[in-house]
């Protein structure tokens, strides 16, 4: 083999550097494409929906007339469903994460639970909707209510909360547990007074990301049969009902409802372009909710990484 001349070696190096630079440009192009999509999405919804950003839009019920229609029942429904979801998913998820990290022995039961959780995270969300339709709506008789929807979404985000709880707990060094036990605390006291408080920021991040996912979920809620046209609010506790009675404290959990994503879906699938405007405005409101929740979570995690030094 003939040795290369200096010029040839220079050419090889130049070619290699050129390829490096071409790839860099490709990388930056792909990244900016992602950014462009986000910007285009938001810009489109803001421009199209701008005429609907009025107080009335937030305070009106759905209507057949596009310009009078609003998202009152949708955002109230979303908030109530999120409330039920958080109430069910947070204690269950934290308890499960705590068990798997602090209590579980390495045996087959633990293995099954762990494999299960990682598999559940990959189950399509619409399958949770079918589960809820079969179990919550018909077996338990909850009907197409806020309770059914809240519990469905709670099951859906449970793996997210469990995984983030476990990660947060795993980051706590063993010396904290040893110190607590050395002064005579039981396992639960150690968890209650040390592990849970120290893991709190991490758990909170997971909870927010989970809820942000849940508030945007449409498919499982459609599957349990949420209505698309709701022109009333669930009964507030102790309010007067139409038949003269008074609503109980928890009557609202059994009420029919609609949520933001379903309202958007409904407006998007109508042929009348006037409703596109509503869909854009409602989409922007939903995006704002989800993105601000995500931003809080990202900020929390960022702060945590900076502040905690064991």
């Amino acid at each position: 083999m003939k040795p290369l001349t200096t010029e040839q070696i220079r050419a090889v190096i130049a070619r290699g550097k050129l390829k490096d630079n071409i790839f860099k440009v490709m990388g930056i192009f792909c990244l900016s494409l992602a950014l462009v999509v986000i910007v285009a999405l938001i810009a489109d919804m803001v421009i199209k929906g701008s005429e609907r950003f009025t107080v009335d839009f937030f305070l009106n019920f759905a209507s057949r007339h596009a310009n009078k229609a609003g998202i009152l029942s949708a955002w109230v429904g979303s908030l109530l469903v999120m409330f039920v979801t958080a109430l069910a998913a947070v204690p269950l998820g934290v308890a499960a994460g705590l068990y798997l990290e602090e209590y579980a022995k390495r045996n087959w039961i633990t293995n099954i639970i762990e494999i299960n959780i990682s598999n559940l995270a990959a189950v399509p969300s619409i399958v949770y909707g079918l589960l809820a339709l079969g179990i919550f709506v018909y077996q338990f008789g909850f009907g197409q209510s806020i309770l059914s929807a809240g519990l469905t979404l709670a099951l859906l985000i449970l793996p997210i909360i469990i995984v983030s709880t476990r990660e947060a707990i795993r980051a706590i060094p063993a010396m904290i547990r040893e110190g607590s036990m050395a002064v005579g605390a039981t396992r639960w006291q150690t968890c209650r007074y040390h592990i849970i408080p120290y893991a709190m920021p991490g758990i909170l991040t997971g909870v927010i990301i989970g809820l942000a996912r849940a508030i945007g979920e449409t498919a499982p809620i459609i599957t349990i049969g949420a209505l698309t046209f709701i022109a009333f609010l669930p009964p507030a506790p102790f309010s007067e009902l139409g038949d003269g009675g008074t609503a109980g404290l928890f009557d609202w959990v059994m009420a029919p409802f609609t949520v933001m994503p379903i309202q958007i879906f409904n407006w998007t699938s109508r042929p009348d372009p006037a409703f596109e405007v509503n869909a854009a405005a409602a989409g922007f409101v939903l995006m704002a909710m989800v993105l601000s929740m995500n931003a809080v979570a990202i900020y929390l995690r960022y702060k945590m990484r900076k502040n905690i030094k064991w």
Partner: protein
């Protein structure tokens, strides 16, 4: 002295009683926590139970052979046909379009972020990708139908208002963050010494990335692709909004077609009586969907085990 002894003894017995109660309480709490962890197993059992029991009813009316081989899907017509291939074709075509976008884009972004970008670019890009991954799918559906489809129609005037193509493209963009972030994690886990070895031999960055880092991280990359496939197959709202919902046995992405997921949405939007054959079809469709994602997940775990490299 004796009086003192009795107090000591009663203190000891108090102490023992307290300890016994404390132990009992500890056991109780452990049981409650185990119960919470077991909910996930119950969820799985519930999913399998619901899908299988309704599907058993369904398959007592429709033969499995017809279900798998019929080329028509018209469950709500008088002349009912139940050919699941019609829905599977829509699912596979839209997923293929999505993966054609997401796999190259996601991989390029991952290689760029892990091998080329400086830490400042990485710190900014990762949250942006995370935000992209957090956008609700219904918003993506709106985007596909009312923004991407008109743009595509400008270039291809024959494209119908609903198509697997535009839904698939947007779905691909949605999946990019999953692939990018998982693949980047896998590539960053490759030890620096391997790169340094390659650089010492005179490799360029790109050569090192493609011939050293990517092969070393291949199990992580494969896992991210598999996750992307199951996301695409299970995605619902983008397709329900932008791909049209009429069943259509086609392999052409420029046509509208229903997928397994959008069919379930379509039926759920209507008012089907509990227990009717139409009601049962969505569970049979759901079972098919679950089996497809299960196959991919098992494949993914097998790939990961096969190509796992430890450094």
């Amino acid at each position: 002295m004796s009086a003192n002894n009795t107090t000591d003894l009663s203190q000891v017995s108090n102490r023992l009683a307290y300890n016994a109660m404390r132990n009992w309480k500890e056991k109780l709490i452990e049981a409650i926590l185990l119960g919470a962890a077991a909910i996930s197993v119950l969820t799985t059992i519930g999913i399998v139970y619901v899908l299988v029991s309704e599907s058993v009813h369904f398959f007592s009316n429709v033969s499995i052979v017809d279900f798998l081989t019929d080329t028509q899907w018209t469950p709500l017509f008088d002349d009912a046909h139940f050919g699941i291939m019609v829905l599977i074709s829509g699912t596979l075509v839209s997923s293929a379009v999505a993966l054609l976008v997401a796999v190259p884009m996601g991989t390029i972004i991952a290689i760029y972020l892990s091998e080329f970008a400086d830490s400042r670019v990485r710190e900014i890009s990762k949250p942006i990708l995370e935000l992209l991954g957090g956008i609700p799918t219904i918003v993506f559906g709106y985007f596909a139908l009312l923004v991407v489809t008109p743009i595509l129609q400008y270039f291809f005037p024959t494209l119908p208002g609903f198509s697997l193509l535009s839904a698939g493209l947007v779905m691909g963009i949605m999946i990019v963050p999953y692939i990018a972030s998982l693949s980047e994690d896998a590539m960053r886990a490759v030890p620096m010494s391997m790169r340094e070895g390659a650089y010492a031999m005179g490799s360029t960055k790109l050569y090192t990335a493609i011939h050293v880092v990517v092969p070393a991280a291949i199990s992580g990359l494969a896992a991210s692709y598999i996750l992307a496939i199951s996301r695409a197959v299970g995605e619902t709202m983008i397709l329900a909004v932008a791909a049209g919902m009429q069943p259509n046995l086609t392999w052409n992405p420029a046509e509208p077609a229903a997928t397994i997921t959008s069919y379930i949405v379509q039926v759920a939007l209507g008012d089907l009586p509990h227990g009717s054959i139409g009601y049962q079809t969505i569970f049979a469709a759901g079972l098919t969907l679950l089996l497809i994602t299960l196959v991919f997940n098992i494949l993914g775990q097998w790939l990961r085990a096969k190509y796992r490299e430890n450094y």
